[in-house]
């Protein structure tokens, strides 16, 4: 009992998933929005569906809510098949991207709407609604109409309304999409806090990778109706399983070339006249196959002199400098024309930026900085 148990039910083979997708496919005419998805989501998870627009993430959520029926496959909630259950008969609730607050009802009546449909006694409805309003800190707005409150407050009303019925599963469709960046940051943490306090299972749909990484216990990266990878945020970032995932999450340098395996490492010949790049990997690659190395810019160091004994070092010329305040990203052009990005943290306020445009520099990184990918 030295440290608290890590929350990772997906690693436990005996854990029963709350939601189980089995071969779920959804076609609209000839267009396949969802293509044979198998996925387990566990109780109390904060699960993010991440992908570019049109990747099918919203369709997947609408299938969960019951607004769309899968063309093939089935979805089990607590082991029961959801097929044919209309939205009003499911113990799932949804927070809509547009919030979909009822404009003719007050904040209180909006939140109480679902409770009243269950024919609960008036006292119970009032108590639960007030509890929800306290949870999202809206006690002072009871009688306001949705058009009389701010965007951030509307977002809270929508969340409280969706949570009021204590659903087994709460679906959030781009819940923070309409908020400005600063408010979005704050709200992300509130969302995590509320998820933890209520213990509700959250499934969030977002195209904002930063948001997904911040809030989620696990992230599913989607691509053209398929799931490209499911992993916890660290796994998605540090161990992507494809260049698609690596490229979608954060910034990355991808070098393509021919592999030459050695003991525990792979050398990739990636450009004419450049030394092969060495990278540690557990993959067993055939000699001569095409492979990729993906390296995050913050793992690439930059220096004006040739580094001593680094396994990977390339020379180049500074093309562009992106100063973001906390970090600076150098775009360095290598002899063959390829551009590699290197990032340095600006740890001192007065220290001058070391490098300038057109300057000749060296980039170097360790064997374990990058990851070898087959596709």
């Amino acid at each position: 009992m030295s440290e608290p148990a890590r929350f990772a039910p997906w690693e436990d083979p005996d854990a029963k998933p709350l939601i189980r997708f089995r071969g779920v496919t959804k076609r609209f005419g000839t267009f396949t929005a969802i293509d044979g998805i198998d996925l387990d989501i566990f109780e109390s998870e904060f699960f993010a569906l991440l992908g570019p627009s049109g990747c099918g993430k919203t369709t997947l959520m609408r299938i969960l809510a019951g607004f769309e029926d899968p063309t093939e496959g089935s979805i089990l909630l607590d082991g029961n098949d959801l097929a044919g259950a209309p939205p009003n008969k499911r113990s799932t609730n949804m927070m809509f991207q547009s919030y979909a607050l009822f404009p003719h009802l007050s904040v209180f009546d909006n939140i109480a709407f679902g409770l009243r449909r269950d024919r609960l006694p008036a006292g119970e409805v009032r108590a639960r609604t007030e509890e929800m309003m306290a949870l999202v800190k809206l006690q002072d707005l009871t009688d306001r109409r949705p058009h009389q409150i701010s965007g951030g407050q509307r977002q809270r009303v929508a969340l409280a309304r969706a949570l009021a019925k204590a659903p087994r599963l709460l679906l959030l469709d781009e819940p923070l999409g309409a908020l400005d960046k600063k408010l979005r940051r704050e709200t992300q943490f509130e969302l995590m806090d509320i998820q933890e306090r209520t213990g509700t299972t959250f499934v969030i749909v977002t195209h904002d990778q930063e948001e997904a990484m911040t809030v989620a216990t696990r992230v599913a990266v989607m691509d053209h109706g398929r799931i490209a990878q499911v992993a916890d945020p660290t796994g998605i970032y540090e161990a992507p399983n494809s260049t698609y995932v690596a490229d979608f999450i954060g910034d990355v340098n991808i070098m393509k070339g021919r592999a030459t395996p050695a003991d525990g490492t792979v050398s990739i010949e990636w450009a004419e006249g450049q030394p092969a790049l060495r990278c540690a990997t557990e993959l067993r690659l055939e000699k001569g196959v095409t492979a990729f190395i993906a390296i995050r810019p913050e793992k690439v160091s930059i220096s004006s002199r040739r580094p001593g004994n680094s396994p990977n070092a390339v020379a180049g010329r500074v093309l562009d400098i992106a100063y973001l305040g906390n970090v600076s990203t150098y775009h360095v052009e290598i002899a063959g024309g390829q551009v590699i990005k290197a990032q340095t943290a600006n740890t001192d306020r007065v220290a001058r930026q070391e490098f300038t445009w057109e300057e000749n520099v060296w980039l170097y990184w360790s064997e374990t900085a990058g990851i070898v990918l087959e596709r």
Partner: protein
């Protein structure tokens, strides 16, 4: 200067085409009938100076309004008009709401066509359209021919020259005024509201009752007044389609003017009708104002 002109134009319009005629009618309603041309008395004689004005003013009285109160025909006609207008409005609402609802729920690409179809009858003269109903509803009309031909009835139905024909005529004529505002309010509605309602436990019908209906209320109110207000004073439809039993104030007014040649009483009838209409018009205006405020 230009701003003054822009403000002045609607007021001048109102003055020339509403206020001046209204004052003339009001003056006639306070006069006495006379076998003369024009057929009422007194006339204002400006050449006589002050005495002329004094004589003119002393000749005006409320006799005609008192007369309206004594003869049961008039208040019965007012009440009957209100009833026919109210029933027609209700029928128009029951027919018009589903039409507007279907239009608002129709495929986006179909909506302009459907809207066009609702407006299309306005391209034909109102009078001709009412006349054509005489051909449809008469004893030998198309409707009776059809029903007898199909074998539903053996003797022709008497529809023309009854109140039923008047209802049909009013509902038919004013239906677009009911459909359009309701369609406008339904078309603006965010469909995710209905999904949210269902998600929170509503059946389809409950979602309609708790969300769609309240959100279309401004459209319903607007539509009802747009049918009710002109229907009260309607004259052409009851006189063409209605029978001797159809009592409507518009018809009474016409008969006072042209059959009776009693301009003062006819004017008094018109003034009272206007007073009756002012109440719903004010309510309508306030509803419109609220609707615009809610939208902004």
């Amino acid at each position: 200067m230009r701003r003054l002109l822009i403000v002045a134009i609607p007021y001048l319009w109102l003055l020339a085409f509403f206020l001046v005629p209204f004052v003339i009618v009001l003056k006639i309603s306070l006069s006495d009938t006379a076998l003369a041309r024009p057929p009422y008395f007194p006339q204002l004689d400006l050449y006589a100076g002050w005495t002329g004005v004094r004589d003119f003013l002393s000749g005006l009285d409320l006799e005609n309004f008192a007369f309206l109160a004594t003869d049961a025909l008039y208040w019965k006609a007012y009440l009957s008009s209100l009833r026919i207008a109210a029933v027609s409005t209700l029928i128009a609402l029951l027919v018009g709401y589903p039409i507007a609802y279907a239009m608002a729920r129709a495929n986006q690409s179909w909506r302009p066509t459907l809207l066009m179809l609702v407006i299309l009858p306005f391209w034909i003269s109102f009078l001709i359209r009412v006349y054509s109903w005489m051909g449809i509803l008469g004893q030998e009309g198309y409707l009776n021919q059809l029903l007898i031909g199909v074998g539903i009835i053996s003797d022709p139905l008497t529809i023309l020259n009854t109140n039923v024909a008047v209802y049909i005529g009013i509902v038919y004529t004013y239906l677009p005024f009911m459909v359009l505002p309701i369609y406008a309010s339904l078309g603006r509605m965010d469909e995710s509201l209905l999904e949210a309602a269902e998600d929170l436990g509503c059946s389809r019908f409950q979602a309609f009752r708790l969300v769609t209906l309240p959100l279309s209320r401004p459209g319903i109110i607007a539509g009802c007044f747009l049918v009710f207000i002109p229907a009260i004073g309607e004259f052409v439809i009851p006189s063409l389609l209605g029978g001797s039993g159809t009592l409507m104030i518009g018809k009474v007014l016409w008969e006072e003017f042209f059959s009776n040649r009693d301009w003062p009483v006819a004017s008094a009838v018109a003034i009272v009708l206007l007073l009756i209409l002012i109440v719903p018009i004010i309510i309508f205006q306030r509803n419109e104002q609220r609707r615009q405020e809610a939208e902004s």
